[in-house]
């Protein structure tokens, strides 16, 4: 890793520095694991609390969960279609909630107060490994969706309007996870960097609107990731006539 020490000698930016944990032959980024498990724990706690005492007239947390359920159902139904959206709603919902809570958790929780020996805590989605894993999961699931719904007829999709499209469709299978992962990673990392640089330059007031912009972008990116995942799955299960 050739870090250029003179690029940001002034701001405390730690790009490419990680807290390494050695497990067997694997070197993993410890700070990403910690924040991911915090996010997963928070989501689990929210869902368990919200569904403990269910009432006919939803109140409080249950109301929030029902709103989220409606939102995710509409998203999945418009992209995947009436027939199979039920099978994929949990997947889309999990993606959306995990990315959304990671992004906002990275921006809202003052992680800097916790000192690590190296690297720093932040949004798990600001690490390329997390986003690549999520994007590859999406790739696997649209193949699975297509093959399980249509069998080998799924491959008709590659030559659908004309066989000339074949190379483009094959390349598309590789560019889909690439663009999904880079979009999310780049946006979240860019938000963190912009805020960090502005905090260094003007520590007062000025970073606040940029932070709000960052929150907004983070939410939109979670929505885009979930929408695109649903769209790819919908494309794979769609019947051609």
């Amino acid at each position: 890793m050739g870090l250029l020490p003179f690029v940001f000698p002034f701001a405390e930016l730690e790009v490419g520095k990680h807290l390494y944990w050695q497990i067997g032959d694997l070197r993993i980024h410890g700070q990403v694991f910690m924040t991911s498990w915090i996010v997963i724990g928070a989501l689990l706690a929210l869902v368990v609390v919200g569904t403990k005492k269910m009432e006919r007239d939803p109140r409080g947390v249950q109301n929030l969960l029902e709103f989220l359920w409606d939102y995710i159902r509409d998203l999945a139904r418009t992209q995947i279609g009436e027939k199979v959206y039920r099978d994929w709603m949990p997947f889309i919902g999990t993606l959306f909630l995990f990315i959304f809570v990671s992004n906002w958790g990275g921006a809202l929780v003052p992680w800097r107060l916790i000192r690590l020996p190296s690297g720093e805590l932040g949004a798990p989605t600001a690490d390329i490994n997390t986003t690549v894993a999520l994007a590859l999961l999406v790739s696997l699931s649209y193949f699975y969706a297509g093959l399980s719904n249509k069998g080998l007829r799924y491959f008709e999709y590659y030559v659908h309007p004309t066989p000339i499209m074949l190379p483009f469709k094959i390349v598309e299978d590789f560019t889909k996870p690439l663009s999904l992962s880079f979009r999310l990673f780049g946006n979240i990392l860019a938000d963190e960097l912009v805020v960090a640089v502005l905090v260094f330059l003007v520590p007062l007031v000025l970073p606040v609107p940029v932070m709000f912009l960052g929150l907004f972008t983070s939410a939109i990116q979670a929505l885009i990731f979930a929408t695109l995942a649903a769209y790819y799955i919908g494309e794979a299960v769609e019947e051609h006539h």
Partner: protein
């Protein structure tokens, strides 16, 4: 890392973001133009237009972000650093 590689990396990082911002800038401009025209013609559709506009903005923005990712790789994780 030798100084030629360093200089080339820094210049390339600047160019990656700068040139990458041109296309999406033009695209976002024309998308916003279309949205404003749509709202002027049909003010009651403002909510729907705004939602679609923001979603497509995010798509265009991610093109610049790809340039930014390349720039960050060049600055912080340069594969040619040796």
């Amino acid at each position: 890392m030798d100084s030629i590689t360093t200089a080339a990396s820094v210049v390339a990082a600047g160019l990656a973001v700068g040139l990458g911002a041109i296309g999406p800038g033009i695209g976002q401009g024309s998308a916003a133009q279309g949205a404003v025209e749509g709202i002027a013609r049909q003010p009651e559709a403002e909510g729907k237009i705004r939602g679609t506009l923001l979603l497509s903005f995010a798509f265009m923005e991610s093109l610049t972000i790809y340039g930014l990712v390349v720039a960050l790789v060049l600055l912080f994780a340069n594969p040619f650093a040796g």
